[in-house]
């Protein structure tokens, strides 16, 4: 990312931060979902896009983060709201770090589809445990204390919070991408054995990427749970989230920094706004759209744009 790109992103973020003044509440909620999805997509991409370990079970970290935070916040609900949210974020992040670090070694020995399916298993196992262990209150549901300041509408508050967090996640991903660590992750995606032969500490790098991705996902889960106010197992351990995280990158451009952002914006906008009124029809239409996009632009929106500009340049020469 060049300097003018950084400036462009900051300008976009500033515009988006001002948008709630003009938008009706419904669109603010759509915007919040877009930003939340984009942030999740970027967090997923640190492992799935950069290192090529496509996880099909990142909802596990949304769920673990959300429930860990919720259970602890419930105990300390007398704390002032901003502190409580910060506390919840810390607990959710630590819980996800612990879970991902614990499963990293065995699960990252699997590659490709096997890793994806194993992660789906992790997500389902966590969901089942969450549903059936009474002290986790997964089936009963968990209330989150209100942390929204009274002067701000809740949807605006969560919109801005998601915007801020999204920018932070993007900044983390950007820093990783341009670092030596990021170059190592790319080489792992391209050819893991060759990477190791060149001296890339592949095992360590994969584990770090996994934990970073899990922690960021967990933090977003905590924020999402707060925005819902009340969660059960089914509202955070969602298989459509598991699926969508891959779709965001596929749509926008796998392994790129902005691919998941573009993909998430596109998919959420299409499903919520364009197809939102066609209730019976919208899942079918989403599926169709996906098939068409993936067939027409296998490299995603960014990949398509790149080949297009490449062709134009070639024609000009």
């Amino acid at each position: 990312m060049k300097r003018d790109q950084v400036l462009a992103v900051l300008a976009c973020a500033a515009l988006m931060a001002a948008a709630p003044i003009l938008l009706p509440p419904f669109y603010i909620r759509v915007g919040q979902l877009m930003l939340y999805s984009a942030a999740l997509g970027v967090a997923w991409s640190i492992l799935g896009g950069f290192a090529g370990y496509a996880s099909f079970g990142h909802a596990a970290f949304i769920g673990v983060g959300a429930f860990a935070a919720g259970l602890v916040e419930d105990r300390f609900s007398t704390l002032p709201p901003p502190l409580l949210l910060g506390f919840g974020l810390a607990v959710g992040g630590v819980a996800c770090a612990a879970l991902s670090a614990a499963i990293a070694y065995p699960i990252l020995r699997l590659r490709g589809t096997f890793f994806a399916i194993a992660m789906l298993g992790v997500s389902h196992v966590c969901a089942e445990l969450n549903n059936n262990l009474d002290f986790l209150q997964g089936s009963l549901g968990l209330n989150f204390p209100v942390v929204t300041p009274e002067s701000i509408a809740p949807e605006t508050f969560y919109y801005e919070l998601c915007l801020f967090t999204g920018c932070a996640v993007l900044a983390v991903a950007w820093q990783i991408r341009r670092s030596r660590f990021g170059a190592g992750l790319l080489s792992i995606r391209e050819d893991e054995d060759t990477a190791r032969m060149l001296g890339v500490p592949t095992e360590r790098y994969k584990r770090i990427a996994f934990v970073v991705s899990a922690v960021l996902t967990g933090l977003l889960g905590v924020i999402y749970a707060h925005s819902l106010g009340y969660i059960t197992t089914d509202s955070v351990y969602r298989d459509d989230t598991n699926l969508n995280l891959i779709v965001f990158s596929l749509l926008g451009g796998m392994g790129t920094l902005f691919g998941p952002v573009i993909g998430a914006f596109l998919l959420v906008f299409v499903t919520q706004v364009v197809l939102g009124r066609l209730l019976d029809f919208h899942l079918f239409a989403t599926g169709l759209l996906l098939v068409i996009l993936v067939l027409a632009a296998p490299g995603g929106v960014l990949g398509f744009a790149r080949t297009f500009s490449f062709r134009r340049r070639a024609n000009a020469e």
Binding site: A183, R189, D191, D193, T194, L198, V200, T202
Partner: protein
């Protein structure tokens, strides 16, 4: 200390479920040399490279690099010590540009202080692919990919380069260019261990030949010595007895370099 070999292999053996790929192999490589390993298919050449780079663990024996034991070390640690490998079938990072491919070599590889930009540029220069820097690796020809493979390997600032058939499948012009690259790499202070089937190239570039057959070392010496060694001719062309005439016709065949 200058006489210390850069690589020493001591009674190395590797068997795959009873198949002895390498049996009791011992040799030492002096720094600054180009040593070629030749032998018929299945002689254990690739297995030897896999053992030296730590991709496989030996069944028995030891490998010493610059006076230190490296057997059993993970592949990336061995790379950090200063051994690099160029694969026979080029394995570029296809989605990345030539520059980024080579840059990953210089970002990692041998431990110690590094100047990534300078090392990348120098490696591309040595391997004669500087003009391709911005091309995606997927757009290169087979010959160019071989050069990329070598560039990425030496960008690791390795002291020992294992080159696995860098000339296989190349036409005579490309082969000559590759030989030239290998010479320049050696001149830059890198020791080269070469597996190559293209006999004219081997004869031209090597200081020393090691001949493997069925996992054993059957000859070791200068190219001309080895080419006249009856045991080597037998290994390549089958038993020469009882007629002696066959070995005489076989010898020029090796010299002239039918690809074996």
């Amino acid at each position: 200390m200058n006489n210390q070999p850069i690589l020493r292999v001591d009674r190395l053996s590797k068997s795959f479920r009873g198949l002895h790929a390498i049996t009791g192999l011992s040799f030492a490589i002096q720094p600054g040399s180009i040593t070629s390993i030749i032998g018929p298919n299945g002689a254990g050449k690739s297995t030897l490279f896999n053992l030296v780079t730590g991709y496989l663990a030996p069944s028995a024996g030891q490998i010493w690099f610059q006076g230190r034991l490296i057997t059993g070390m993970p592949t990336n640690r061995i790379a950090e010590r200063g051994i690099a490998r160029a694969f026979q079938i080029a394995r570029p990072f296809r989605d990345l540009s030539v520059f980024d491919n080579v840059r990953i070599g210089s970002l990692f590889g041998k431990a110690g202080p590094r100047d990534v930009a300078a090392t990348t540029a120098r490696a591309m220069q040595l391997a004669a692919i500087a003009h391709l820097a911005d091309r995606p690796a997927s757009a290169l020809t087979v010959g160019q990919l071989r050069h990329l493979e070598v560039a990425r390997a030496i960008a690791t600032r390795a002291d020992l380069l294992l080159a696995d058939e860098p000339c296989a499948g190349l036409n005579p012009t490309e082969t000559a260019a590759m030989i030239d690259v290998l010479r320049r790499i050696r001149a830059s202070g890198v020791t080269i261990l070469l597996v190559e089937h293209d006999m004219p190239s081997v004869m031209e570039v090597s200081d020393r030949l090691l001949v493997l057959d069925a996992g054993r070392l059957i000859a070791d010496g200068s190219p001309s010595d080895v080419a006249n060694n009856p045991q080597v001719i037998e290994a390549y062309l089958g038993s020469t007895e009882p007629e002696d005439t066959e070995s005489q016709t076989a010898e020029p065949a090796i010299r002239q370099g039918s690809k074996i």
